[in-house]
Symmetry: C2
Subunit: 354 residues, 2 copies
């Protein structure tokens, strides 16, 4: 049994999308249990329509709902201890839930998650990891917007955490990792990126295979399983890719409706177009994963529908089932432990057995 | 008459692409004249095949050709004063040519251009501006990789130069400008980006209309005419968009060849697909423009064909015809002059008439 706590008020549509989404995910994973938090007059009428889901869930009323345009500081001030978003996160802290899913606003969700769950022992800053569809399957890209800038050590920590997530999500035993960089020779790269590359090469970790620098066009190719960068460029890459996909879909739509022949062709090839739409469907890969906190929090797109929200729950389900948090804890401990011992050994080369 | 100096050895294919490309551009703009620099045994046999072009051009032999993987420092050491790349740039400096086009390697071309042409009086660092196809037409995005990082003043200078290029290229009288940023509230933006926004708002320039921050998905939408960012995130955005476009084209190809119905549909809608391919054709918008130097240098994709190289020449032609360099000089002078006077006026409010 896996229990997922859900901020039922999150997202552009609140319970109207969240509840049907949970029902869909429950159909796929009958061992799921849900804890819903929200305003009862808004949540219960919807929940009543899903009998199976209702039986598999518990509901708790919260007066306060964080709005989609609350600033993180406002959200914390208004919503700490009592909002549906806070309660959902807190359930992970108390152990009532295994993971939390919210379609609420990213800044508020991250601020509350940090405040409630705190960062892991060796981690200074959390990251948001996105699942990126590629020509080879799926990659993980982080950080796509938790914090701006990252020093070399933080990039290395992102690499370790991203690789743990790849092992949990796409089930490769030793994921390949690349650092996002630019390809102009000699001005190549920020100092932190170069230094992170050096650290990763030297660390020679058993849990990941560091392949070097990758560039923006490697994202879609799926050159590596995990692409690591700091939050500014990661966020810009993510939104640029989304924007380009929409732009091309728009070109395609315009082209296909322009002449009668094109329209007939479109009808005949409809199956193929549906397949393409499926491939490009942003709902299929909905769910940004907050990494580096003492608990897993999944952020769903705010504007998604029930199918998209179900996908975010599925991500949470996979992360719990594949013990993501434990994987990250072990990997970070091994890595930081080894680094600490490595440091000691160079001072006292005779005492490395401990 | 507009004279364009060309590094005939540049690019993956050298004269085999450069010469036919120039011939194509000459067909479109008969007032063009060319100065070709390169190794005579490689260039002349190709040039001999294009009689009209041969009449409209002059050729100068150079022993040295910068290779596609020379590092900038190597290229400078080996190729300064004498390589075909250097000679083509130098022709702009001496006034023999109005602009220079090369498909040679970006780092070397930028290093030589800086060394030969020097940056403009008020400019610390040059930028590479890309022409970005959008749902509204075309936008200009800079810097896509000349330098990593930029302070607020440099971002403002990029804005002024990008707006001048927009006036030259897409012929809008007061282009809209946005600063590329991330959308997560409160952690929003690097300090330099925020400060640049403040400077642009306060400067209230007549030559551009500053609209505030934009995000990655605004690039494809064409929300503003000019998107300004530093070279690291700009390069990543550019390559991510190129990669995503290729990825979707690949999905489309796979979908359309999967079933007989899809293949028939494809045949009927072929005109529409060609239109789409046309829209997505990266050759159509080939040509990165180096801004901030005492001369205009156009960088063509190294791997492009003659059609793509002709497009890069067309960009150079437009830039010269529409007096890009003079526009930039005037705008920067007005801006920096005004800023200097503005600064003086706050110290001595009675003496602002000069």
């Amino acid at each position: 049994m896996i229990t997922i706590s859900i901020d039922a008020m999150g997202g552009d549509f609140g319970p109207a999308v969240v509840i049907p989404g949970a029902a869909k995910s429950l159909d796929r994973h009958p061992e799921l249990r849900f804890l819903f938090y929200g305003q009862e007059d808004k949540v219960l009428p919807v929940l009543d329509r899903y009998e199976k889901l209702k039986k598999a869930s518990r509901f708790e009323h919260c007066d306060i709902a964080v709005s989609m345009d609350d600033k993180p500081s406002q959200a914390l001030r208004r919503g700490r201890w009592k909002s549906s978003m806070w309660k959902a996160i807190e359930a992970v802290k108390t152990g009532d839930a295994d993971t939390c899913v919210s379609a609420g606003n990213t800044g508020a969700l991250m601020a509350m998650s940090k405040f409630c769950l705190r960062t892991m022992a060796d981690i200074e800053r959390p990251a948001i990891a996105a699942i990126w569809p590629t020509l080879r399957g799926e990659s993980i890209v982080l950080d796509v917007g938790a914090t701006i800038g990252a020093d070399a050590q933080q990039l290395v920590d992102f690499s370790v955490m991203g690789a743990a997530m790849a092992r949990a999500l796409i089930e490769v035993s030793r994921p390949t990792v690349g650092l996002l960089n630019v390809g102009v020779e000699e001005i190549k790269g920020q100092e932190e990126v170069k230094e992170a590359g050096r650290l990763l090469r030297e660390a020679d970790l058993g849990t990941l295979d560091y392949l070097g620098f990758v560039e923006g066009d490697d994202l879609g190719k799926g050159t590596v399983d995990v692409v690591v960068t700091e939050g500014f460029s990661g966020n810009i890459a993510l939104k640029t890719a989304e924007g380009t996909a929409k732009q091309i879909a728009e070109y395609l739509r315009a082209a296909m409706s322009r002449t009668l022949m094109a329209r007939i062709g479109y009808l005949l090839a409809r199956g193929a177009f549906n397949r393409l739409r499926d491939k490009m469907d942003p709902r299929k890969v909905n769910g940004g994963v907050f990494l580096g906190l003492n608990g897993i929090v999944i952020k769903s797109h705010g504007g998604t529908d029930d199918e998209g929200f179900a996908a975010a729950i599925d991500v949470g389900y996979d992360m719990v089932r594949n013990s993501l948090l434990e994987k990250i804890e072990t990997d970070l401990q091994n890595f930081h432990g080894r680094r600490a011992r490595g440091g000691a050994s160079s001072d006292a080369p005779g005492q490395t057995s401990g």
